[in-house]
């Protein structure tokens, strides 16, 4: 299954603005997603924005990237133009509906 547009965007931005290579950039974002309980194939721009604000800065600092906050702000700004794209219904959307919550 292909990864979501939000994931691809965040990875490409990280690759562009840091010294991280493609695999390292993708790995960094994946680790941030794992900590947040999100999946690369279904993450939306809104969810990615939360990850970029709350989780990614610390991940970048742990990799010796000093300008982590600025890079995250740049990714955040760019995420506004990322379309959600056709995403299949997530399990939590189904279970929210089933319980009427």
């Amino acid at each position: 299954m292909p990864e979501s547009a939000a994931f691809e965007f965040a990875c490409s931005q990280l690759e562009t603005h840091t010294s991280l290579e493609r695999l390292a950039a993708r790995g960094t974002v994946r680790i941030a997603l794992k900590q947040s309980g999100l999946e690369a194939r279904s993450i939306t721009p809104e969810q990615m924005a939360v990850v970029v604000q709350r989780i990614l800065p610390a991940e970048l600092i742990s990799r010796g990237i000093d300008s982590g906050e600025e890079i995250c702000q740049s990714i955040l700004a760019g995420l506004r133009s990322v379309a959600s794209g056709p995403v299949s219904e997530t399990p939590d959307a189904v279970f929210r509906r089933l319980g009427g919550a």
Partner: protein
């Protein structure tokens, strides 16, 4: 009637009542939303609890019913179980592993096995010379139950995995604690469903007694816990909703994009 038999009967009655109510609620929801997941899980629960279980109680009563009732009851129960558990296979694939991949293959295999075993049960009910033989364990019945155990296990694993994901999202404000809890309860429904069938499967595989005291106790306890989990998952009382949301960590505001 002994205490343990009363417990088994009470457990079966609870499953019939809760399963039928939740199944009807989800089918009512499906009528409005026209969505596949609620149609599948609602129909499955209704078939298993409101059709299959009452028929099984009739055909396995201490005093056997007349031959024709036994044949029709057994055929109906076999078909309802096969369709019900096939629906759970389809639901688990559609919700947790949609699209191509191993989930589709597992669901396809499970549904094929369940439908074949269910049809075999119907054929047995029609062709056996002595209808009382339907009350004796059969190979097709064992296959049907093994398929059910497989889907309960799969459902439980997927549900617990997803609950773990949602629990990590809660502090970020990306998940509702009640929905995360619902995945856990649905997983426990699978675990206890697995447990309630286990004594019958073990007895058939080992040649043991499916009506032993220990077997009845396991069936009764698992049945009651399964019904309780199902009820709280899909018809949660207000006090339970407050409890789950109250003990969850406070979320931070979601980032604006």
């Amino acid at each position: 009637m002994q205490t343990i038999e009363l417990l088994v009967l009470g457990s079966a009655a609870a499953f019939v009542l809760v399963g039928a109510t939740v199944g009807a609620k989800l089918l009512w929801l499906a009528r409005r939303t026209r969505a596949l997941p609620e149609t599948l899980v609602g129909a499955s629960l209704f078939l298993l609890s409101a059709v299959a279980w009452p028929l099984l109680l009739i055909v396995s009563a201490p005093e056997p019913p007349p031959g024709l009732v036994l044949r029709i009851g057994w055929a109906g129960a076999s078909l309802a179980m096969a369709l019900g558990w096939s629906g759970v296979f389809l639901f688990t694939w559609r919700v947790f592993r949609p699209g191509p991949g191993w989930g589709r293959w597992l669901a396809g295999l499970g549904i094929s096995i369940e439908l074949a075993a269910g049809l075999a049960g119907v054929v047995r009910a029609a062709l056996l010379v002595d209808p009382l033989e339907l009350r004796v364990a059969s190979a097709s019945g064992l296959v049907l139950l093994l398929g059910a155990q497989a889907v309960y296990l799969w459902t439980a694993l997927e549900s617990f995995r997803y609950r773990a994901l949602l629990r990590r999202r809660i502090p970020l404000g990306l998940a509702d604690p009640l929905v995360a809890d619902r995945f856990g309860l649905w997983g426990f429904t699978g675990v206890f469903g697995f447990g309630s069938i286990a004594p019958a499967v073990l007895a058939q595989l080992s040649g043991g007694d499916p009506n032993s005291l220990a077997s009845h106790l396991v069936v009764a306890v698992c049945g009651l816990l399964s019904s309780a989990a199902l009820y709280v998952a899909f018809l949660p009382p207000v006090t339970y909703i407050r409890f789950v949301r109250g003990r969850a960590p406070s979320p931070v505001p979601e980032a604006a994009v």
